[in-house]
């Protein structure tokens, strides 16, 4: 009799434990192939690290239950149609309760249509374009600083260093890059910088010769633009091999990736507006510090984190925080918690716009400007050069020190 009773209690215990051990399913696509794959993978690693650390600590604890995080993901091949089909599948078939965005503004805009049609929350990261949030959504939440703000610090710095500089804007013809360039150009003109060249190229361009010739002909001394990793890296390489003689070069996205070091000499002096760098020393209200995050990331992936990875991890943190605050995984409750989020993590301050006209737009987060410089041993290293509060090194300016000199040689000469 006692044995039966013990068995019964044991079974009851297991049953309650199993009931208490729930899962929350988060769906998203990764660009395992296609032009966005370098950046997308870094974002994925951020998600993954967050999931593994939280699950190891017992899962998300809300409303008396603890939820193990489960991912459902597919390869979107960097293509919008696939994103739509896959997000529809993840919501309808795989029953994902929450969604993360794919990488890039373009793909995110596509996914947003599906998530809004189905009334599901999507936390977007790796997606800075403003327009998606101005179409009347209810459940989108943006982690990244919007595109309209991307170049503000870079241009301020440029003006401070050389107010007579002549700026060329050359961006990829996709929604994100053109939004950044348009906002950048307007801001540049507002603060009194001279814009001498402004053109867009097709995102799959590999031959930048014609554009670089035109930039040289326009006598530009500062070059701002680019797109994502593939075209950004090629631009940097070709600007270098064609000796474009620039004093300032700022490219979107590409120089943010650790892979950029493959360019060798061509990477010197290139700056990137960054959503996050290891040196950004924010004091988090919850979650790891920047240094802890970077250390755990390096240990797991044998490579330093880029700001896409940080964005991925932070997206997880913010969602987790909102679920905890709401005490449930119900969409309406979590949305309400997200709308009232005003928190600082290692990534920075996160606060979402709540008005209907631009719901979900990120209001609290700030960009920094990073630059590839050489450390004492001659190795390429990224330093934060702006703003002053986050600065870890002085900017190297101008980049072009004279004929046939790299920064390294110029430094030696000094």
């Amino acid at each position: 009799m006692r044995r039966v009773f013990t068995l019964f209690v044991f079974a009851l215990f297991c049953w309650t434990a199993a009931r208490a051990q729930q899962t929350v399913t988060i769906g998203f696509t990764v660009s395992n192939t296609g032009s966005l794959n370098v950046d997308s993978l870094e974002q994925y690693r951020g998600f993954e690290l967050w999931r593994d650390q939280v699950n190891a600590a017992g899962g998300i604890k809300a409303g008396g239950k603890s939820y193990q995080i489960k991912f459902v993901t597919y390869d979107d091949e960097s293509q919008p149609q696939r994103v739509q089909q896959l997000y529809t599948r993840m919501i309808l078939q795989d029953k994902a309760q929450f969604l993360f965005s794919p990488y890039s503004s373009g793909l995110t805009a596509t996914a947003a249509i599906v998530t809004e049609q189905n009334g599901k929350i999507m936390i977007t990261t790796g997606a800075a374009e403003d327009k998606t949030y101005k179409l009347g959504n209810q459940y989108l939440f943006q982690m990244f600083t919007p595109a309209s703000d991307y170049l503000t610090s870079a241009l301020d710095l440029l003006k401070a260093k050389d107010a007579s500089t002549q700026v060329a804007f050359v961006c990829a013809d996709d929604s994100f890059s053109s939004a950044v360039a348009a906002a950048g150009k307007a801001y540049a003109q507002k603060i009194g910088l001279k814009v001498v060249f402004d053109e867009a190229y097709s995102p799959d361009t590999t031959d930048f010769g014609p554009i670089i010739d035109k930039v040289v002909a326009s006598k530009a001394t500062a070059f701002v633009g680019g797109g994502h990793y593939a075209d950004g890296a090629t631009l940097a390489r070709q600007l270098y091999s064609r000796k474009a003689k620039l004093e300032f070069l700022s490219l979107l996205v590409a120089p943010g990736s650790p892979k950029f070091t493959e360019l060798g000499n061509a990477a010197f002096g290139v700056t990137v507006p960054s959503q996050w760098e290891v040196q950004s020393a924010y004091k988090p209200q919850f979650g790891p510090t920047g240094a802890e995050f970077a250390k755990a990331y390096q240990a797991k992936y044998n490579s330093p984190p880029s700001y896409e990875s940080a964005g991925g991890y932070a997206a997880g943190l913010i969602l987790q925080h909102a679920i905890e605050q709401a005490g449930a995984i119900d969409t309406a409750k979590v949305a309400s918690a997200l709308n009232s989020t005003n928190a600082t993590t290692f990534f920075g301050l996160t606060k979402f716009a709540t008005g209907a006209k631009e719901h979900g737009l990120q209001m609290g987060h700030n960009m920094v400007l990073a630059q590839w410089q050489e450390d004492k041993s001659g190795k390429l290293d990224k330093e934060v050069v702006w703003p002053a509060q986050a600065q870890s090194a002085q900017i190297v300016f101008p980049i072009w020190q004279g004929p046939a000199k790299t920064i390294a040689q110029a430094k030696q000469a000094k």
């Binding site: 919008p80 896959l86 179409l135 009347g136 013809d173 929604s175």
Partner: protein
């Protein structure tokens, strides 16, 4: 009349079934799968009018779909038109566009015509990538407010689905009607030997232009509906040469010239593709498998699946054509 042909009733029956099945179970997943197959059939059967009936290979057929999508999305999102009027307008506009370009290039024969269609496809793509009112390379995005007059996003998506099934039905019936008409006979004559046909008094220029623009109408309407549903369009995706060629492949797989063949090939290819899309190991193999299939069919069984089926079951031909 075509009401006498059994295929007419088969088409009506299948269309009704497709419309009602997902609705009964409120099964959105089934709807998503079926809508893709329906679109594939629409594109393949209308292309069959050009390639199978008339013998002119249109490599640019995706233009109809893409331009229809652009015009439809522009009219609904920017101009606030109702979905149905926008879709019809898109169909008419694209037909007219096709007629104009057709008059220029239909004098070319064989491979030259095919190449010209590729040229037009790429030129249209380049143009739209630079066309500011249509968003240039970034494309157009639907504003979520557009769903309100249709009763909210969920209902709008269902409406789009039913309309697509209607277009599917019309495509098949159109193919059937043309096949059994004098118009169809003229087209077949052109396909077999255009010069002989002209000598015998067939006004080839007129018929070619008519079928070319007609083959554009329903795909354009479908494009407007589909792109409305997916909420966004950009030139890279709307005017992709590979999609155009895949439609040709679907038609060949099923069996060119045959309505059932085009429909069957399209439906099967789309199912295969959908399966391979989510299979992690095989998603790249979609191309290899499709390519292999195509190679075998072209070399050894140019009549396609349906050709093989008709040889197996001769009575089937009377039923399905």
């Amino acid at each position: 009349m075509i009401f006498k042909r059994p295929f007419f009733w088969i088409v009506i029956g299948v269309s009704a079934l497709l419309a009602l099945l997902p609705l009964w179970g409120n099964d959105a997943t089934l709807r998503e799968t079926l809508i893709l197959s329906a679109v594939a059939v629409i594109l393949a059967t209308n292309l069959n009018l050009m390639i199978g009936y008339t013998g002119y290979v249109n490599f640019g057929n995706v233009i109809f779909f893409g331009l229809g999508g652009y015009i439809g999305l522009y009219l609904t999102t920017v101009r606030g038109w109702h979905l149905i009027t926008a879709a019809l307008a898109a169909g008419l506009a694209v037909s007219l566009f096709t007629l104009l370009f057709g008059l220029a290039i239909l004098s070319l024969r064989g491979a030259y015509f095919a190449l010209a269609t590729i040229g037009i496809l790429e030129a249209v793509r380049a143009f739209v990538s630079n066309f500011a009112p249509w968003g240039k390379a970034a494309g157009l995005y639907v504003s979520f407010a557009v769903y309100q007059p249709l009763g909210g996003p969920m209902r709008a998506v269902w409406l789009a689905y039913f309309l697509v099934i209607a277009v599917f039905c019309l495509s098949l019936l159109l193919s059937l009607a043309i096949k059994n008409s004098k118009f169809g006979l003229a087209l077949f004559a052109i396909r077999e030997d255009e010069d002989a046909a002209v000598t015998l008094g067939v006004n080839a220029r007129f018929y070619k232009a008519r079928i070319f623009s007609l083959s554009a109408f329903l795909p354009a309407v479908a494009g407007a509906l589909i792109y409305f549903k997916s909420g966004m369009i950009d030139p890279g995706e709307a005017f992709e040469l590979t999609v155009s060629i895949e439609v040709i492949v679907m038609m060949m797989l099923g069996g060119q010239g045959s309505i059932m063949g085009a429909a069957l090939g399209a439906a099967l290819y789309e199912q295969l593709r959908g399966y391979l899309l989510t299979s992690p190991s095989l998603s790249h193999f979609q191309l290899v498998i499709a390519g292999g299939l195509l190679l075998v069919i072209v070399q050894f069984a140019p009549g396609g699946l349906i050709g093989w089926l008709y040889r197996l079951v001769p009575g089937a031909r009377r039923l399905f054509e």
